[in-house]
């Protein structure tokens, strides 16, 4: 037995993690290009400004993921004997709080513009020596953003599902919310084109709501993580059956009378305790060690299981909520 070992991802998951890193780099490159495209055509449209900020905020999750991929699997140290799995959760806590605040601020800003009746001026710009209405350039830049958002979301979703990676799933979700916002911004610009000035601020309000929603979804996800929630399936709130399966597996061991299991999910990995009432106490140490080994093999995500022999177990089941 060795405490503070490094968690070994199975080969398939290691490949998926490399894919996650590649997708994050791709996101950074493509989202930077969309941010530049939107910036060049920004003008005085509220919807464009909001779409641009959302685009910039979309750069944060891939960076957090790349950092997490490097940090989370570091060798545990004397100071951090439980390893670095929580690093990602801390990053996401900060990000989701920022998303919530920025989204709320932009929402307030666009609602104020709507109430004031602020009308966005959109004039001409010169593209390749020809002067065109800036609205067309804005729409072209936004259409490019929509394409990038759809592509990134589509690429990330299956990887997140197979890796059971909530951070990547949340990132893919943000890409989806992002391209829907940019679609709304296109509508806003078209409405300006038709002299419907309110379309701009209304589109901006819709985009801000999307940012608030991103923040809220991420915050809920990360808070459950920091609260040591029992494992759940990706994108679902239903608890997994893993703890009860582990209890059944422990109770099937010939030397175990009764067992109780407590598991928690930290980022990608699962850790927890199995309390057992032994039927026989002969070879207890060897039995406990063997049980710890075999129970770890139930699922690839399990990082460590502490098997603890006790004389009796009271209150067999915890309340649902």
């Amino acid at each position: 037995m060795r405490i503070g070992r490094r968690f070994q991802f199975p080969p398939e998951q290691q490949e998926l993690r490399r894919k996650t890193a590649r997708l994050s780099w791709l996101s950074l490159v493509l989202l930077t290009s969309t941010a530049v495209a939107v910036y060049l055509t920004l003008g005085q449209s509220e919807a464009m400004k909001t779409a641009w900020i959302e685009d910039l905020l979309g750069l944060i999750p891939p960076v957090a993921l790349l950092v997490a991929l490097k940090v989370e699997n570091r060798e545990p140290t004397e100071r951090f004997p439980y390893g670095y799995f929580r690093a990602i959760a801390i990053a996401f806590l900060v990000i989701s709080a920022v998303l919530l605040l920025v989204g709320a601020w932009l929402l307030l800003d666009s609602v104020m513009k709507l109430v004031e009746g602020a009308r966005a001026p959109v004039g001409t710009m010169t593209v390749f020596g020809r002067s065109i209405w800036s609205g067309w350039a804005m729409i072209a830049a936004l259409a490019y953003c929509v394409g990038v958002g759809i592509l990134l979301g589509r690429l990330k979703q299956p990887v997140a599902a197979r890796l059971n990676d909530r951070a990547l799933a949340a990132d893919a979700d943000m890409n989806k919310a992002g391209w829907m916002s940019e679609g709304a911004a296109i509508l806003g610009i078209v409405l300006i084109g038709y002299g419907q000035w309110w379309g701009d601020a209304a589109a901006a309000a819709f985009i801000s709501l999307n940012i608030v929603r991103d923040g809220w979804v991420n915050l809920r996800q990360v808070v459950t993580d920091l609260m040591d929630e029992s494992p759940t399936k990706l994108g679902e709130t239903e608890l997994e059956s893993l703890p009860s399966r582990m209890r059944d597996a422990a109770e099937r061991l010939p030397w175990v009378e009764k067992a109780a299991v407590r598991l928690r999910e930290s980022g990608h990995v699962i850790a927890g305790e199995v309390f057992v009432v032994p039927r026989v106490e002969r070879d207890l140490v060897a039995n406990v060690e063997a049980a710890s080994e075999s129970l770890c093999a139930l699922d690839w995500r399990i990082y460590s299981v502490t098997v603890m022999p006790v004389s009796r177990l009271d209150g067999a089941k915890l309340p649902r909520h």
Partner: protein, 149 residues
Amino acid sequence: MAVLSSCGLPRDADGTLDRVRGGALRVGVSDHPPWTAIRDGQIDGIETRLVAELARGLGARPVWRRGAESELLDALHRRELDIVVGGLTADSPWKGQVAFTRPHFTDTATGRAHVLAVSPGENAFLVHVERFLEPRARTGALPADAAAR
């Protein structure tokens, strides 16, 4: 131009361009030589001459209103005027309240971009004014005769 006229976009929120064509162009002028100059009731200057030419092109009769810059820009924001001239530059704090055109003169000495202001949301009118200014746009130091005025 072909793309624009085929779709008829953008349109004005309040139909300024249609109203001005063959009608009255409500112009605010604040004294700021050499761009605008009000002397003994006579209105002159680089920008006022530009606006008079713009009005001629639209078959419109300019209706001049003299006043302080802040008063005129506030009226423009409330859409009581169609266009304001008075040596405005693109870095003016009024940027968010009214619609500035692209520069008609960029001063190489000071780096300042001189613009005209039109009422916000009147984008067909804004595009028309910018297209009018585009071939007339200049870069350089202030014209000597204008500076002397």
